[in-house]
Amino acid sequence: MANPLPEEQEIYERIKKENIIIHPLIWELISHHIRNELYMINLIIGSTVLDGALLNEENARKVLKHSKAIQGFLDELWKVTGKKQGDK
């Protein structure tokens, strides 16, 4: 698990206080891509853990493939939604 940002709690409080929401279309994309890829990673790692077996190369490559898919999706989402103040 990533370390929380130093001001993460304040960010959550601000989101709640200012009622900042994500558009349902964006949530739909996030849910579809992230949840599906994580499910696949869970299956690969979970089946390895259940069997007590070492993660073989083929499955390690599959984990990488699905991790990269998450990264690719976030990059795409950033391209279309991620403009910050001052960005062109």
């Binding site: 949840r35 994580l38 499910y39 696949m40 869970n42 979970g46 069997d51 699905h66």
Partner: protein, 130 residues
């Protein structure tokens, strides 16, 4: 291990998911088949009459998981259907349950959760058989 081989159908348009779920349940003593589309699932269900079906709702082409569920309830009413999807909308969950799904799992699911829900569906079959 199970006393009698329970027949499981996995419907998911992601090949990797089908393969992993198939391998997981075969190791547990199930007889497992899979389909990458709703239409393929219906064809196989007519022939194989599975006891339990794991149905993904959102599929790239053809019937979606809910349409497949509706057809399965017609052609194989004893089959216990578990929906597996990323969509956690309460309306979707209610719709699936109203159509006869016995469970509704929201991805990402852990293997432990998947096993627990499928075994629960199987225990429903065993109770029904008594």
């Amino acid at each position: 291990m199970l006393k009698k081989k329970i027949k499981l159908m996995v419907l998911d348009d992601e090949r990797d998911i089908c393969e992993f779920v198939k391998a997981l349940f075969r190791k547990k003593g199930f007889s497992v088949s899979s389909a990458l589309s709703g239409n393929e699932a219906i064809r196989k269900i007519k022939k194989l009459k599975p006891d339990v079906a794991l149905l993904d709702i959102y599929l790239k082409k053809g019937l979606d998981g809910l349409e497949a569920l509706k057809k399965i309830r017609e052609i194989s009413p004893l089959c216990r259907c578990v929906m597996v999807t990323w969509d956690s909308a309460v309306s979707k969950i209610k719709e699936a349950k109203a159509m006869g799904a016995v469970s509704y799992l929201v991805k990402p699911i852990t293997i432990t959760e998947l096993l627990r829900v499928v075994y629960r569906a199987v225990s429903g079959i065993r109770k029904r058989g008594k």
